[in-house]
Point group: C2
Chain length 365, copies 2
């Protein structure tokens, strides 16, 4: 019930003076107080994650709970895990057509729709979470993202960051880039395209089939997320070489609205969603860091697992191939070029500060 | 006005049926909607920063604005810059006695009250912003902080992070730890105690007097914050050696309530403040990163300024002295020991993940 309804109701029951007294007359109350909370807004949110999926799924559940509380119960977001209402990778189209109001997923899944979208999800050798959040907010990342998603009838908000992801689990040690040649590896997104250029046969498999394929050797390697989520998949039991990576230095997740659903909201409702999504974003990064830290220690205590970095030669070769990939995608798609130019200009501005502050500190402490 | 008052008012004016109809009868409304927004809550917040102080002061102003909007105008936080209502460093005591409701400052200012408080502000050679936020939330940092502040009748929330700070501006090049001996340097907090152990004569000066003292040579060095805020002070014009640091790898700012003011809030009001303070915290880190990046580039374009790291020998000597300082503070104060044990245990858990993910990525990209 908004204030106008309230006053009207007061008039109907003949109590306008008493009602006005309550609203305007007491010491603690002021006439500009907005009590537009009586009308409940219900929104449907579908995710690409299983029910109670650690960190990502549970983060979205907490977001919905937070929105409900801080809106005085007036905004209720019903969260549907993958396949409950919408298949995991149908959330984009379903929100685009307005069958659901919101989805939570990762922009790297939609590069088939527009290769530029993958940049919003983060890129190999790209910005860290700390740097990229600045591109979205202080640079023009968010503006470009919204401009491109508007054509899909969508309105994106930041919905989390996985932090740096690992390079993957390999059945055999990688001593040089030649060892990658011909490997069958589960790796999606721009990282997958990059590994393909290094000779990897990049494949996509349903999550439930990866472990068995890796165990049987029909798959040689798998890139998933990081220690916390990888450990629950059990990859360490069947592939003993775990490499840190440069393929996903900080993958961004999205909380994306159907554009009409977003535009119908009042400024107050929009800000409630925004502030809660900003919390979701930072809380998810923090939870990934903590859960990955704990899982890494457990993995390190297993002496059968070797954890380390790819040899320098592999990293250098990958970096060169990545530059070629960027050139190719930029020449194929003007959207990609436009977003990449903005992304790399911002990166250039901030990476010197990262080097002199964070990198030199971490190396020296 | 909460729902009970509303119903009571309805009864007074004889309109209970019509009123109940509005609350419970329409399609969009539900009976559990909380419209406890009519009563305006006014809170006084004093900061330790000048009016419109970049990043920190302006961040607090945005926080107050956000709270107002997402509470439907029902929570109004009036922000008083330093000396407007309370002197900069009197905010702690003034909130403790309840003369103001909230203050925004840094826990490192209160080590004279309890040396343990300085740990909540961040410590030399300690955790990065990414790591320390986890200690507060996933570890028991926030719980310990609240336990100790409760004795001061205070209730702290996280209120920002400056990101890694610089080691300071020096009039002369530092080639070894011997060069620090006898220098007069403006540096506060645990960093100041550490530099004192390296032979520095650490002094505190009002902000307005530092530049002149540095120019005249009555001060040999100054540690302030980082490129963005340092540049506005003009230190680069009179001291040409700028070193990155390990004295403040990520200083935490606080948004601290008078405990009674906090406890009087409803759960909904508490959550509105919490979600907005979480946004304040992450947004401030992000803004520091961006503003420092821009300012660093400008400083680097001035060839008269030398920007680099302290020699390894200085860092190693400082690290050894810091361990002794921790031993001393732990033996002097059981609160310090308790908080330090928690802090260092958490640090141990997470630093391996930081090394394998962030550090190796930053070195290799």
């Amino acid at each position: 019930m908004n204030r106008r309804d309230f006053l009207k109701t007061g008039a109907v029951v003949g109590g306008s003076i008493a009602v006005a007294g309550v609203l305007g007359g007491c010491n603690d109350c002021e006439k500009d107080v907005n009590i537009n909370r009586g009308k409940k807004l219900k929104l449907k949110l579908a995710t690409s994650w299983p029910d109670k999926f650690p960190i990502m799924g549970t983060g979205v559940d907490r977001f919905a709970e937070r929105v409900k509380t801080i809106s005085g119960g007036s905004i209720e977001i019903k969260v549907y895990p993958k396949n409950r209402l919408v298949p995991a990778l149908a959330v984009f189209d379903t929100a685009s057509t307005g069958q659901i109001d919101i989805f939570h997923s990762g922009p790297y899944y939609w590069k088939g729709k527009n290769s530029a979208f993958s940049i919003f999800g983060g890129v190999p050798f790209g910005m860290t979470p700390e740097e990229s959040i600045g591109w979205f907010r202080n640079g023009d990342g968010l503006e470009l993202w919204r401009e491109l998603y508007a054509k899909q009838n969508l309105y994106p908000l930041l919905g989390g960051n996985t932090g740096p992801q690992m390079g993957g689990w390999f059945r055999k040690e990688i001593k040089s880039s030649a060892d990658l040649n011909g490997l069958k590896m589960r790796i999606p997104g721009l990282g997958g395209e990059l590994f393909s250029r290094l000779g990897v046969n990049s494949v996509l498999l349903p999550a439930g089939e990866i472990y068995t394929a890796l165990d049987r050797g029909t798959l040689d390697a798998v890139e998933w997320v990081g220690p916390a989520l990888d450990k629950t998949m059990g990859f360490h039991k069947v592939a003993k070489h775990y490499y840190s990576g440069w393929n996903e230095p900080g993958s961004i997740l999205e909380l994306t609205f159907n554009k009409n659903s977003w535009e119908k909201l009042s400024d107050e409702q929009k800000q409630i969603i925004e502030v809660a999504s900003n919390e979701l974003h930072s809380e998810m990064s923090q939870n990934f860091h903590y859960e990955n830290s704990k899982a890494l220690r457990e993995l390190k205590s297993d002496s059968s697992i070797s954890i380390g970095q790819f040899p320098d030669e592999v990293t250098k070769t990958a970096k060169k191939e990545f530059e070629k990939l960027i050139d190719q995608l930029s020449s194929e798609n003007s959207d990609f070029k436009k977003v990449w130019d903005s992304y790399s200009a911002y990166n250039l501005t901030v990476k010197e500060w990262t080097a002199i502050s964070t990198t030199s500190y971490l190396n020296g402490r």
